[in-house]
Symmetry: C2
Subunit: 340 residues, 2 copies
């Protein structure tokens, strides 16, 4: 019962043979006699021998690990993404190192370096809300580490990316509000430095324009968390004309709106209809259930990891950045279910 893992040396010593023979036997090299192989494998099993991934990585410059940089794991979307990433990595025999930034630029730079230190073979990134500089990411690329962005992509860096069509999803959500009769639709937006925030806002604006509704900048609020909703809702509902629809940039925000709107004495969807973005499990728990855009976290994660693994294993050598855009789907539920 060793308190430290066995090495090929241990096996070699025990058998009175050389480490190179052990090494070869272990990987079924044709040169080695069946007899030796059997003996080696047996003692290996007996000692619970497991190859040291650090030594392998050092030797081959391949750590067999990919990194993930993610804002916050405690969101359904992001944890779904991680699930997808893990499954893809697992299938390919890769390990995953997950790092949260907690939406902090400073922490994002730190984990990027930590991942570099560990010589991960590639990194999947969704940038923090507060990230405006990206040297830490180009640093990775300069060190030969391929990057794949997902969801929160960085437009300043040329790299693979996997996203849902945010523009289109927002357009659909807004158009649907118009279709059920909303004429004064508020958009609760994410920061503009996030491309997804920008794109969803544009989708919202375009849908209004295409339906000959005015785009009122005062109807657009930077408001992407429950706290901000609680902070601003009274002011928003006090406006004239009163809003009759909300397109929120994510489900959390949409749900906070529903709760606050109900609390304020309005009916959802009859007085005010609401759409969100993401389709997390909460969407069917809130009452009324939430109309929202499906975001396919698992698939995004899986595909992003596939992109990365393709680059790593060089099965794709084309240096041009690839982009996968998932077709969004609007899931219609009660929060917009009213007769026109």
């Amino acid at each position: 019962m060793p308190s430290t893992p066995a090495t090929i040396k241990d096996i070699a010593r025990l058998l009175g043979i050389s480490v190179s023979t052990v090494s070869r036997a272990l990987k079924d090299h044709p040169d080695i006699s069946v007899d030796t192989k059997e003996k080696v494998n047996e003692t290996a099993r007996k000692l619970n021998y497991r190859p040291n991934a650090l030594a392998l990585g050092l030797k081959s410059s391949k750590s067999n690990t990919i990194g993930v940089i993610i804002p916050e794991i405690v969101h359904f979307f992001f944890s779904s993404v991680i699930s997808g990433i893990e499954d893809a990595a697992y299938e390919a025999g890769y390990n995953v190192m997950v790092c949260q930034t907690n939406e902090m630029y400073e922490r994002e730079t730190m984990v990027a370096k930590a991942l570099l230190d560990h010589r991960v073979e590639g990194i999947l990134v969704s940038i923090a809300k507060t990230s405006m500089k990206f040297d830490h990411l180009t640093l990775l690329q300069d060190n030969g580490i391929p990057l794949v962005f997902f969801d929160r992509i960085c437009s300043f860096i040329e790299s693979d990316a996997v996203v849902v069509d945010d523009y289109k999803g927002a357009y659909m959500a807004t158009e649907h509000l118009i279709a059920v009769g909303c004429r004064n639709i508020v958009h609760l937006a994410a920061p503009e430095n996030l491309l997804i925030g920008e794109l969803r806002k544009i989708g919202y604006c375009r849908a209004l324009e295409d339906h000959n509704l005015p785009v009122d900048p005062y109807n657009i609020y930077l408001c992407d968390t429950r706290e901000r909703v609680e902070d601003k809702i009274t002011r928003i509902l006090a406006r004239t004309p009163k809003p009759d629809g909300f397109f929120a940039v994510n489900d959390t925000t949409a749900i906070a709106v529903i709760q606050e709107v109900k609390k304020a004495g309005f009916r959802v969807p009859d007085d005010i209809a609401v759409t969100g973005f993401g389709d997390g499990p909460v969407a069917t728990i809130i009452s009324p259930t939430l109309t929202t855009v499906e975001q396919n976290g698992y698939e995004i994660g899986y595909e992003a990891a596939r992109f990365l693994l393709d680059r790593i294993t060089k099965s794709i050598t084309n240096p041009a950045a690839r982009k996968k855009v998932f077709e969004p789907q609007l899931i219609k539920r009660e929060s917009t279910d009213r007769k026109v």
Copy 2:
């Protein structure tokens, strides 16, 4: 713009000095002249030098990484735990390797080995529902890797553990149901091989006994997911006497019950009161809001990581297993809010 990370060799060559000098200069060794140090640090910066963690790990047998084995990341509780773990690890300068088992024993054994291969310095574990054998975990211990269990602990292995007091939480939840007038309380339980399932069941039973209510084994169902609730609820509600209270082993199940019970035409809490376990964000989104036991995922993760790091850094040499039991708190909400 190198496509491969710089090494101390590169620095040494560039400066015409030896690698050992570089190594020492980089770590501010007193023997090295200020002049050399400056030169070394400058070129290190210029080359974006970062120490190779694999080489360091190999040399020192310290990977600076801890592992996490977790059933499914897409649950609020588990992702909160990971957040706590990451923060603690981050503070201590450690990296985290997260592995999901998707509740599968086979995958649990695989990731345990992968973590061993990577020579993580310790592992935090919450076992899968289907795990009945634990050789893969004792294997880790035999290799000198300290284990800390959290939430889903394994009673067959002597090791540190961090949990919430499941027995007490269940007792409180059940007693509260009794207090608001329930007399025929159903328990939706987790598998008994999970200690948490067992303990919560016992807490439920004991609360009934202490209040002179009969413990009817037919009132206990193995039912810990939404799907199972949907599958069984009709049969359960058809029993006579009709259940007037549910204590569900987790929030997801509790919420499914509320939704199904309402769908069946009963009022919650007036006809049927419901309590859950976990206090995830869904608890305040469902209507009526859910009375549930707070589970403190973040704190559990943080403390578990602290336990592990204490062992790793040998600041604790006491071999005896330590156990931290969080005091549960019952969060009373609408789903049990009725006058007696």
